[in-house]
């Protein structure tokens, strides 16, 4: 318990302290050191979550509640589950990768980037650790606003368009979620998780069910917007295309999952048993998988392909959640982790290719394999993982999701989800053929491999992807050890 308590304090305190330091120092000084300082937060968080994982294995207990009594007046309660720990770990990993990329792609406004990133980390940590829906909403707003500014701050014409689209959609989602919260509050009188667990579906008079259903429609739509699931996906590729790639890493790597998927995990945890909810998520997930992959096949902008791929992969996570079973949740969370690693890898690759060649258009590229060996290999591994080709990590999480779908009786959805992987393979083969495989173009003859922190980020993420794939059976043993399987 001691370890977990101090870890949670650390992961809240460190980003906050760094934020304060950035704001206090003189502009010139901060511009120089803020990026270096920013590394501290994710690294601390990685160490802290790793310690928590070890501690949980010792305690053999997979959810732990921590209360902070601030001067006896305000009591704040946080909870750490195994799956929220996975989220915390992903937040740290992706943020680390993002800072490494930003080191290269963000030449100015480095303090601004670092401070906003700290706010973003804080917000995301909050979302996954709070124990009532209203606090969740508050942290959701922090995440929404800081990511909006991050997208918009490196401004270009298209940048503003993407950011504006994101802002509109995000605000719409927030309104929906807040209204939904109000409806739930009207019915249950509380937004605390443990009260909801006890009373969510207790009084089932028709009027009250109407309220709950209204809340569900609003909240699922709201979180689906944040997730970027079809039919609410339109903002995602635009936002990615216009954002700085370091921000894309964050946005697709983790923000859509914490702001969208985690919200849905909470909701389905309480209300998933209501008739209709499962089916809604099934259909939304399947459509996202197919539409996302088909759109990805048609794009020629590197980042748009990867962004549509995110839409498609979010579909798998939704399918996992929709089973409302432990196995499905586990599969979904495993896929969150895998998606965080391979999607950050792909955006890091995009950054590397863009930095070296100056273009994102895959039709202008070709044969980079020889010149950019590390980038080429890491994108290959990441795409294989995305397509769910073993032995890469994505295969295992997809397998868990398919198994969960199968045992919950949704066999057709399971089969569709599996077949749709072939589209993933198709757009990834297309991208590999155009960018890395094939003959080198003459105008690209002078290209060299990217160096420094971006290369390091690629290596780090690829190692994680491959290791997660090879060692996944041990993860299964771990989950059994703490009683989740």
């Amino acid at each position: 318990m001691q370890v977990i308590e101090s870890s949670t304090v650390l992961i809240f305190a460190v980003p906050l302290v760094i934020f304060l330091i950035n704001s206090l120092f003189s502009k010139r000084l901060a511009e120089k050191f803020s990026m270096g300082l920013a590394y501290v937060a994710p690294i601390t968080q990685i160490v802290a979550t790793a310690a928590c994982f070890v501690q949980i294995a010792h305690l053999k207990q997979h959810d732990i509640i921590i209360s902070w009594d601030l001067a006896g007046a305000v009591s704040m309660r946080f909870a750490v589950h195994t799956y929220s720990l996975v989220f915390l770990f992903c937040i740290a990993l992706v943020s680390l990768a993002s800072i490494m990329v930003a080191n290269r792609t963000v030449p100015q406004k480095r303090t601004g980037f670092a401070s906003l990133l700290m706010m973003l980390i804080l917000g995301m940590n909050g979302i996954v650790m709070v124990t009532d829906l209203f606090s969740l909403y508050v942290f959701l707003e922090i995440v929404g606003i800081s990511s909006f500014v991050l997208i918009a701050m490196f401004k270009s014409e298209t940048g503003l368009e993407g950011a504006f689209k994101y802002l509109v959609m995000s605000v719409l989602a927030s309104i929906m979620i807040l209204t939904g919260l109000a409806f739930i509050f009207m019915q249950t009188g509380s937004l605390q998780y443990d009260h909801l667990e006890a009373s969510a579906l207790a009084g089932q008079s028709p009027t009250q069910l109407v309220l709950i259903y209204a809340a569900m429609i609003l909240m699922i739509a709201g979180f689906a917007i944040k997730t970027g699931a079809v039919p609410f996906h339109s903002w995602l590729p635009d936002a990615h295309q216009s954002a700085n790639t370091a921000v894309s890493v964050l946005l697709s790597g983790i923000v859509i999952k914490v702001a969208g998927i985690y919200g849905l995990i909470v909701i389905t945890g309480f209300f998933g048993k209501l008739p209709g909810i499962k089916l809604t998520l099934f259909i939304m997930g399947t459509i996202s998988i197919i539409i996302g992959a088909l759109f990805a096949l048609r794009q020629s902008h590197f980042k748009r392909i990867v962004a549509y791929s995110s839409v498609s992969q979010m579909g798998y996570i939704l399918l996992g959640l929709s089973t409302v079973s432990m196995l499905g949740l586990l599969g979904a969370v495993a896929h969150v982790f895998n998606h965080a690693t391979f999607k950050s890898t792909l955006f890091t690759n995009a950054a590397a290719v863009h930095e070296q060649t100056g273009t994102y258009d895959i039709n202008e590229l070709g044969g980079l394999e020889k010149k950019m060996g590390v980038t080429s290999f890491s994108s290959l591994a990441a795409f294989m993982s995305t397509a769910g080709i073993p032995p890469f990590a994505g295969f295992w999480s997809k397998l868990l999701i398919i198994m969960a779908l199968w045992s919950s009786g949704a066999r057709v959805f399971a089969a569709i989800a599996l077949f749709a992987s072939i589209f993933t393979a198709a757009y990834f083969l297309r991208l590999q053929r155009k960018v890395f495989f094939g003959k080198l173009r003459d105008q690209l003859a002078g290209i060299t491999e990217i160096g420094g922190s971006v290369k390091l980020a690629q290596i780090m993420l690829t190692v994680v992807t491959i290791a997660a794939g090879l060692l996944f059976p041990f993860a299964l043993l771990y989950f059994r050890g703490i009683g989740l399987l």
């Binding site: 198994m403 299964l476 043993l477």
Partner: protein, 472 residues
């Protein structure tokens, strides 16, 4: 000999392959020999597992995992037979590659992928769990993809992508079938599900995977196109290893482990018959030496599938024997084609002729291997072909037997045509052709001699295969 020998058999090529690019940076020769050493080690380890297998105490490694998963390797006669066959032919192919692949770029990747591929094959045949079989299956698809795209031209990459997409699609459909088996039995473990009867729709799903990997009609068309790869690769993929994965899984699952409906003893042979005739017909019309041999592979794989699916023990024996004979002979044919292509720089048989004077040893090896594939006694292929057809006839399906005899006649026709066009007749004067390098010729001769030797001493391989029959 303990069960570590299986681990060594799998891990030496599998893990060793990742060392090869590093060795390649130091010294090319060292890398080549290391690659050969790894594959030969796999062969030797499989051979060392033989005594235990003959004693009737198969080597076994087993770890339980949650969710009906398990991780284990099991060396029974069938697995060891497949391992010996594929690692032997693969070793010859690696030897042959030394000279063939020398002038090209990406050699490090080539040896790595070949070696990884053989390790994957070893892992696949020894695995006891459907999920791990699937994992190895897909790794082999990745290797195949890189190897077919070896030359990095637009067309080869497109063909490589085609092969990848077709086989992966088949594998995904098969995975649905595996999950279906899990739904029915609650386990992915082969030993735990032994003898269970499974519904027909699962069999159909798994068949999609088998047919795509073993390039059988209607999922065959990636294979001739993949002939754009270097010849040792085509030999490895199309003759010795990759295409045998599909039929091996058929034998492992539907002959050795699970009970399936009677209807498949007719349905699968019918598919095989269509596949055999269609591809033999195409082989008669093609003018590209490698495409002819590739279509011949599709046609011969149908014979293997026929033997395994006929539902009689004699058919299964024939099918398994066919795997061995076909690997050796077809491997030899592709390698001979490689020698011809290497010195003529064309694959068009209308531009060839009279090559037997210039390359007598290759011609000899070619005709030996061709005789084995045609099924001329006393070459090895004859016995396998005889048993397969005997199998389907004794199952009461004389009609299908006749169709396959017609297929065998067509085999004789198109291979004779190929031999005549390439090696006999007038030699176009402009060609300054010489025999392949000693190493390449030696490799094909080994395979050719083996084709005869296996036929002459047929009691030995058939006795070995009969042990598998006993297990069934």
């Amino acid at each position: 000999m303990g069960s570590e020998i299986i681990i060594a058999c799998i891990c030496v090529p599998l893990c060793g392959s990742f060392l090869l690019p590093l060795l390649g940076i130091i010294n090319a020769k060292l890398r080549n020999f290391a690659a050969l050493a790894f594959t030969v080690t796999a062969f030797l380890c499989a051979a060392f597992a033989l005594p235990a297998v003959f004693d009737g105490s198969p080597l076994n490694i087993h770890f339980e995992l949650p969710l009906g998963l398990s991780f284990g390797f099991y060396a029974d006669v069938l697995a060891v037979f497949m391992a010996l066959t594929s690692s032997f032919v693969a070793s010859i192919i690696v030897l042959y590659s030394f000279d063939y692949i020398k002038p090209y770029e990406h050699q490090n990747e080539y040896y790595m992928m070949v070696c990884l591929f053989i390790g994957t094959m070893m892992g696949l045949v020894f695995s006891t769990n459907l999920i791990f079989i699937y994992i190895f299956w897909e790794i082999s698809a990745i290797c195949c993809w890189r190897l077919i795209g070896f030359y990095r031209e637009e067309i080869t990459i497109r063909r490589a992508n085609k092969a990848f997409v077709v086989t992966v699609l088949g594998a995904l459909i098969m995975l649905v079938g595996f999950v279906g088996i899990y739904g029915n039995t609650g386990t992915f473990d082969l030993a735990a599900m032994k003898g269970t009867h499974i519904p027909a729709w699962i069999v159909v799903l798994i068949l999609c995977g088998v047919l795509s990997k073993s390039a059988t009609f209607p999922l065959h068309n990636w294979l001739p196109d993949a002939g754009v790869a270097p010849s040792p690769v085509t030999s490895l993929l199309h003759a010795a290893v990759l295409v045998k994965i599909g039929v091996y899984i058929y034998a492992r699952l539907f002959v050795n482990s699970l009970a399936i409906d009677k209807v498949f003893t007719v349905a699968v042979p019918v598919i095989a018959a269509v596949s055999a005739l269609v591809s033999a017909g195409v082989a008669l019309r093609e003018n590209d030496i490698k495409r002819i041999i590739a279509y011949s592979t599709i046609s011969q794989l149908a014979f293997i599938l026929l033997g395994l699916s006929a539902g009689t023990e004699i058919g299964v024996l024939g099918g398994l024997l066919y795997i061995l004979m076909h690997s050796v002979a077809k491997g030899g044919l592709f390698l001979c084609a490689g020698i011809v292509e290497h010195s003529l720089h064309t694959k068009d048989i209308t531009k060839m002729g009279g090559l037997y004077k210039r390359m007598p040893l290759t011609a000899l090896a070619f005709i030996f291997c061709a005789f084995s594939v045609m099924g001329i006694p006393p070459f090895g292929g004859f016995f396998a072909k005889y048993l397969v057809i005997d199998g389907i006839v004794s199952a009461g399906n004389t009609g299908l037997g006749a169709v396959f005899i017609a297929g065998a006649v067509m085999t004789i026709l198109y291979l004779s045509r190929l031999f005549i066009k390439v090696f006999l007749g007038e030699s176009p004067s402009r060609l300054e052709v010489k025999e392949g390098s000693p190493l390449m010729v030696a490799s094909v001769l080994i395979l050719a001699i083996l084709s005869v030797a296996l036929g002459l001493s047929i009691s030995w391989p058939s006795g070995f295969v009969a042990l598998i029959g006993g297990g069934i």
